[in-house]
């Protein structure tokens, strides 16, 4: 077996090299990966908690250690210290205390209740994309929502793949009555009214990220099974499967060690499109008010509020363009991946 794995690795390598030559897709991939990676560090990039505070010769790291009450720094505020104000007042008083704010010092949650925040502030040096109808910073919300959207889409897609490969693969591999039976089950299951499931669940508990993923997976895996079923069905009749079986391999091994690696092409080429679907799905859910609970930043919610306040252009512009940039990058990646994985040469023949 090691031999075979080596071969497939080298194939992967070749494909990767091919992928790298496709500039549009490759750069999109790198950029998106970087942005997504960066988005995990949002708390230290975009936040209203200071990165580091030096107060009376002692160092504090609010971003990491979390809540410090204002009284700790001798600030007269209820609850948590207001670091931006603290910074300003220290600067003014020329005190020895100092603190470092994140490069973009606004959190996605602070609204008009925080002094100085106004609703419908147009884009400015402080608020790059203005503020929304409750005075929250649009840019900050946009970035946090980016992380949530991509994570949602990725987790959802991977889960769908796992279920889809197992069920769809078994259907294609075993065929016959098993296949027929599961086809009916899938047909029945796909008639499940999603909206009702969400209504039922959210009337009982507060939907969180993973609960939404769970709800969405309930219905969403079906699309994947069709693809995998067809793939396994086709591969099954190939000689190498018969060979593996004749060598006494178990069905399980044949399916996942032999057929699966050979069906990688559709799996991988379909992936970016599934991610696009996941992103759009979350936007739709949030728009309709069946998604993440407020005040979670989300593109759907921003779009909804933006459309209600259409004269404040930045509130519509921000989510639409963010969605556009993300989608088009994913699509470019998808195109490039497909091209890289396809052995055929797409060039004009004359």
């Amino acid at each position: 077996m090691p031999e075979q794995q080596e071969i497939s690795l080298s194939i992967l390598k070749k494909r990767w090299l091919k992928f790298k030559t496709l500039k549009r897709g490759y750069y999109s991939f790198v950029l998106l990966l970087m942005l997504y990676g960066l988005s995990w560090f949002l708390p230290i990039l975009i936040n209203n908690r200071a990165l580091m505070v030096s107060y009376e010769d002692e160092l504090y790291f609010p971003v990491i250690s979390g809540y410090y009450s204002g009284s700790e720094f001798d600030q007269d505020v209820p609850g948590e210290a207001a670091y931006r104000q603290l910074q300003a007042s220290w600067k003014q008083a020329d005190s020895d205390n100092w603190l470092i704010m994140p490069p973009y010092p606004y959190s996605p949650f602070e609204d008009i209740t925080v002094k100085g925040n106004k609703m419908y502030d147009p884009p400015s040096r402080q608020h790059w994309l203005g503020t929304d109808n409750t005075g929250r910073d649009v840019f900050s919300r946009l970035c946090y929502a980016f992380n949530i959207s991509i994570s949602f889409a990725l987790v959802l897609t991977i889960l769908n793949y796992i279920i889809g490969v197992i069920i769809g693969g078994s259907m294609g591999y075993f065929g016959g009555k098993f296949d027929l039976f599961f086809q009916r089950i899938i047909e029945i299951w796909s008639s499940l009214p999603m909206l009702f499931v969400i209504i039922i669940i959210s009337s009982i508990i507060r939907p969180s990220f993973f609960i939404l993923i769970f709800i969405y997976t309930i219905v969403n895996w079906i699309g994947m099974t069709y693809l995998m079923r067809a793939e396994f069905y086709r591969e099954k009749s190939k000689d190498y499967v018969a060979a593996a079986l004749s060598m006494g391999q178990t069905n399980f091994k044949v399916m996942f060690k032999h057929i699966l690696p050979n069906s990688m092409v559709p799996i991988i080429t379909y992936f970016p499109f599934a991610v696009v679907g996941g992103i759009s799905a979350l936007v739709g859910l949030d728009y309709l008010g069946f998604g993440m609970p407020p005040p979670t930043p989300s593109w759907g919610q921003m779009l909804d509020v933006g459309l209600q306040n259409i004269s404040k252009w930045w509130m519509v512009f921000a989510p639409v363009s963010a969605q556009f940039v993300t989608l088009i990058m994913v699509v470019f990646i998808g195109e490039a991946v497909r091209e890289a994985f396809d052995p055929k040469v797409y060039s004009r023949l004359r």
Binding site: G66, Y67, P78, D111, S203, G291, P294
Partner: protein, 640 residues
């Protein structure tokens, strides 16, 4: 060649689809005019049986009526009013049925239609709320106030020309009491009476089962339907038969067959033969020849665009932001569209948070008060609502029932922190949330419907500053209601509708506090309030009733089952400048667009001026935005 074929094929297919849609919901317009024979005057019925001449006997027999004083004319319609024109209004839903009674007929639209097409025996004075005559010219109340007599005006006619008689009242009561109309609240309201009795052709009497001042209001206000038709059918047949068909009425308007286009529009047409058209109390009302209701479902921007384009005449602005930011367009600057903020005594809108006093944490008054002091509604009003609203400090904010001694609550974090400390929430955990000595975090959940999140997320931030974790979740309306009725909530966003005659029993009586499925949402229990409620029902003096309600309001405010938010007692409206209206624009207690249907009129000169201004692109005079007739009237007359 092939392409042409494809195009031709496409066009063919398209036209096929097009024609398949052709059928649609066509309503066969019935143009055959039915000639109406108006019943001639009945001179045979004796005066003492309610016939002509009864007026002279009435006082002797103990009957009363109301004679309009000349100076009151203006409140019954402006004598400058002209008849004619059409008023176009957009509603947000097409009623499930055009019936005015029975299942699904409990919505505003049905109510409006009922008010314009049918009449009760008596009605209330637009200024003083005294009883005044409607279908019944005279009425009598027994000394023990348990029996009422009504004398139907012998001039009253149905729109099919038949006379209105005592039997009509009985038939209407019978319909309400028929359980197969599937409207159980009808049986609750009208079950307070025995079956009415026709004492003669025109005189009908009814006996109450229990003493209550509201009885006359309920029975007298019942819109009377024609017995001639009702006697031929039972409740379930009524539901089917009159689903989208009108029973003849006595009111100034009717809906003609063919004027109901399901899910699209319906038109009320003024009846030229309205029996009371020369009565000074109704003469100057109902001035439009037609009132058209068009439906735009759940789509405010489109409604607004349609108004701006001139497809509708009247627009109510519901949000402060819309009012401040979006009502300064060209037509308004040029005076083509007029902008008004009309004050009245009808509380137009209130909001706040109701607590569930049955369970932690709001079973503790200190926490309810702490929440109240931390809820910085002043700031929200200033920062988000353009200071358009006033602060509520009473269930009956802005009306005579408001208890002036209620605590005027202001944002007060010191007090709140003190209360929280007293309640045992002294320390904060490492995430900054308040905890009590058992380590329980002060955390609860609020379920809201989509669209109001902007009113709640700032509150969440306010609470967060003081260590209270209020978590928000979206829920759909029905699920929310179910949770509310099963008391499966901690805090709930509530509104307090303003009733002219408050009915606090349904939401405050102790007996309801521990039961599910009623309006005592917070679990309010108070012995004194129970006592007052008993007295309230049996008190016939409005002045005493006001006192009672004020006392209840005071107790309520003290127990504090809810945090009051903001309120306004005015309507923000826009309308095309082609109407005439009385100085006060909306009546004192109705206070909204529905006043326009009966009190406004179409002014041809104004419309001509508007048209000229629009073609020449010139300006028209812009009127004052604030219409404070009612506050000033009340001040001048020293009435509360």
């Amino acid at each position: 060649m092939k392409r042409i074929q494809i195009i031709v094929l496409l066009i063919l297919a398209l036209s096929l689809v097009f024609w398949s849609c052709g059928g649609g919901e066509k309503q066969a317009a019935d143009n055959s005019t039915v000639s109406i024979n108006i019943a001639s005057k009945d001179m045979t019925t004796l005066a003492e049986d309610g016939g002509y001449g009864f007026e002279d006997l009435a006082a002797e027999l103990g009957y009363v009526t109301y004679d309009m004083k000349p100076e009151e004319q203006i409140f019954f319609g402006d004598p400058r009013a002209k008849k004619g024109g059409m008023f176009r209004h957009i509603t947000t839903r097409f009623p499930a049925t055009m019936r005015t009674e029975g299942q699904n007929a409990n919505y505003v639209e049905n109510n409006t239609v009922s008010g314009l097409c049918y009449e009760g025996l008596i009605t209330t004075h637009p200024l003083t709320l005294e009883f005044i005559s409607s279908l019944a010219s005279h009425w009598k109340i027994a000394d023990d106030k348990m029996k009422f007599w009504f004398r139907v005006n012998p001039d009253a006619r149905w729109s099919d020309g038949r006379e209105v008689i005592a039997d009509d009242v009985i038939a209407t009561w019978d319909l309400h009491m028929d359980e197969t109309i599937l409207s159980p609240s009808d049986q609750l309201v009208y079950g307070k009476f025995e079956r009415p009795v026709a004492e003669s052709k025109y005189i009908v009497s009814v006996v109450c089962k229990e003493l209550s001042w509201r009885n006359l209001l309920y029975f007298g206000g019942m819109a009377i339907l024609p017995s001639y038709y009702l006697n031929q059918i039972d409740g379930s047949e009524y539901l089917k038969e009159y689903q989208f068909k009108m029973l003849p009425g006595t009111g100034p308007y009717e809906i003609k067959e063919g004027d109901i286009v399901n899910q699209e529009s319906f038109i009320l047409t003024r009846r030229l033969d309205h029996w009371a058209k020369d009565d000074p109390m109704t003469k100057y009302t109902a001035n439009f020849d037609k009132i058209k209701f068009m439906v735009v479902k759940d789509n405010n921007p489109l409604m607004f665009e349609k108004f701006k384009k001139g497809e509708s005449d009247f627009y109510t602005v519901s949000k402060a932001r819309e009012w401040v930011e979006e009502t300064d367009f060209e037509s308004i600057q040029k005076g083509w569209i007029q902008k008004r903020k009309i004050y009245s005594e009808k509380p137009a809108g209130t909001s706040g948070f109701a607590f569930n006093m049955r369970k932690w944490p709001f079973d503790d008054k200190r926490l309810r008060m702490a929440f109240t002091y931390l809820y910085n509604r002043e700031k929200m009003n200033e920062e988000m609502y353009y200071s358009e609203y006033s602060m509520m400090n009473s269930m009956y904010s802005g009306s005579v029932y408001e208890n002036p001694d209620n605590e005027k609550v202001f944002y007060n974090p010191e007090k709140a922190v003190k209360l929280l400390k007293e309640a045992g929430y002294k320390t904060r955990n490492e995430d900054g949330w308040l905890v009590n000595k058992d380590g329980r975090i002060l955390r609860f959940e609020i379920a809201i419907m989509k669209g109001v999140d902007y009113m709640v997320t700032p509150v969440q931030q306010m609470m967060k500053d003081y260590g209270i974790d209020m978590q928000i979740k979206y829920i759909d309306g029905n699920a929310n209601w179910k949770n509310l009725m099963e008391r499966n909530f901690t805090i709930y966003m509530q509104s307090w509708g303003g009733l002219v005659f408050p009915n606090p029993e349904t939401s405050l009586h102790s007996s309801l506090a521990d039961k599910d499925n009623n309006n005592n949402i917070g679990g309010f229990k108070n012995d004194r309030v129970d006592e007052l409620l008993v007295e309230y029902d049996k008190t016939f003096s409005q002045a005493r009733r006001v006192e009672i309600i004020r006392e209840i309001d005071g107790i309520y405010s003290d127990i504090h089952p809810a945090t009051w938010g903001i309120a306004r007692n005015y309507q923000r409206v826009l309308y095309w400048d082609k109407f005439g209206y009385p100085e006060y624009m909306v009546s004192r207690f109705v206070g909204d667009y529905r006043s326009a249907f009966s009190l406004w009129w179409f002014e041809p000169e104004k419309e001509a001026a508007l048209e000229a201004a629009m073609t020449n692109n010139t300006d028209l005079p812009v009127g004052d935005v604030d219409v404070k007739f009612w506050p000033e009237y009340l001040k001048a007359n020293n009435k509360e």
